[in-house]
Symmetry: C2
Subunit: 335 residues, 2 copies
Amino acid sequence: MEPARYLRTPLTERLGLRHPILSAPMAGVAGGALAAAVSRAGGLGIIGGGYGDRTWLERELGAAGEVPIGIGFITWALARRPELLDLALDHGPVAIFLSFGDCRPFARKVRHSSSLLILQVQTLEQARAAIDEGADIVVAQGTEAGGHGGRRATLPLVPAVVDLAGAVPVVAAGGIADGRGLAAALVLGAAGVLCGTAFFASREALSHPAAKQAAVRATGDATLRSRVFDIARGLDWPAEWDLRTLRNRFAERWAAAPDSLAAAGEEVLRAYAEAVAAGDVGTATVIVGEAVDLVRRQEPAAAIVERLVSEAAARLGDAPSLLAPTSRRDLSVGV
Amino acid sequence: MEPARYLRTPLTERLGLRHPILSAPMAGVAGGALAAAVSRAGGLGIIGGGYGDRTWLERELGAAGEVPIGIGFITWALARRPELLDLALDHGPVAIFLSFGDCRPFARKVRHSSSLLILQVQTLEQARAAIDEGADIVVAQGTEAGGHGGRRATLPLVPAVVDLAGAVPVVAAGGIADGRGLAAALVLGAAGVLCGTAFFASREALSHPAAKQAAVRATGDATLRSRVFDIARGLDWPAEWDLRTLRNRFAERWAAAPDSLAAAGEEVLRAYAEAVAAGDVGTATVIVGEAVDLVRRQEPAAAIVERLVSEAAARLGDAPSLLAPTSRRDLSVGV
């Protein structure tokens, strides 16, 4: 394969990357192998600290070895186990990534470490707070993203965040799984992208093999945002954020009345847990976003990075060809 | 003002436009003056046929005069007054634009006219049907759009539609109100954009002056999708599509329980109608999308078109500067 060209942005300069691509800290999916593979390929891989399982985190940090990576946390979950931030910082990650909650109890500690502070936001108001809090990088995440997220969409959110971020690099997240999306994000003013769905079916992801197959087969029409799977997993997420997943039998059954699921009792939740263990994706959730349309094969993470960059470089290189000479004959229908 | 450069795409070639910009057929807002102004500026303005008010449509077609324009219909509403399609075709529009419903009763008649058939879709499945139906142009509309729409977001929907559309030009709609969005859409593979919110506060739009002011002041965080204002206006929209508007007092009051509004009776609806007439935007709806962040002044439609094109041309012209030389020293954190 022809080596991909480099893309140079304030993000690559700041993080010392070859490519402006971050992999999302997907809970239970983005372990050390995926993060290391993305970093080796020239991006920055981020391990998902998830809901605070110290044993899991220690193992995955070990799996990343000496490869520089980032570590991400669900902020409200970190607040219940704040000592995990010390564990993370002791590893010396390139960056700590925080999303979904009040970062203030942690921001100062990160700013006084050797790690950069990446804050993910879902609204313009949160973006303003993140910049006030001293974020080194702001990730603007649209509702089309897989996993937890908010209501605003990536395409209009990113330029609005860029306009208030000043010199702080803004990374676009949500809906980007190929080089066209990467190129579009850069043209829009983002300094890079954060991709989850694109890596969900990668060889290194810890997703269940059946879930990877389901992602490759799925259409982006078939996702929904709901509380269903958080209830089924016993996770008490704040109402501000819900979870985008594939729409499966279980979601169809409960999405219209999630409170009934909460009331359904232990038996339903136990059956759900068994389906997860068995990889029964008719019941167990497959946490991907709308960009799953663009995920068409299982492949190594490095191949995904290379393809994103090659496609984006081609699009960006060709962009001026859309500009017609100003001397062009006026074809307007209007005058 | 420096004349804007031309952008050349399959859409401009097909429609004979200087710029790949369509203005959305916003019901009650996009009349003949707005459509004509957009067409004169080099795009294609589309009059909103709305819910089938023949007198309104005749007047606005008259206002457009001899300037080539398009005419848009809400498909399920057109099904109740199919004779309006004949009125529209008699005007000889550049295109008939259909969205929200089964186009099959109308597609054949348009295909046998001198007007092109533009079909707007909100899902990949609808896009497939539109292409099967012989659409000359497909508009892929994301949920961030103002007004009626679906669930999918523009950034991931557009490339997925492009991949199945073959030679049929795909236009991106939803979330685009400046030249960055236009440039991003083109890089993503769209042949052009359709903008509503960008023109909502334009001088020629028929929006209430108070609504234009509210749009200029609003943040994109402050929109929501709901059925509230359709119920308040007595419009029986199919459940598949709801309405994105600014979040105002009336929306806050009823959004959580729209059925209570339906049951609230005549008095509430009469009060709503009075608020609309009075331009009380605390109650009356302001129908704009998330891109309202980028709408910062009231200005003529031609100035909006010029700015979109100038900004996009600058972004596209500069895009190759993001490509670093391949001989660049390897700064990767990863190896």
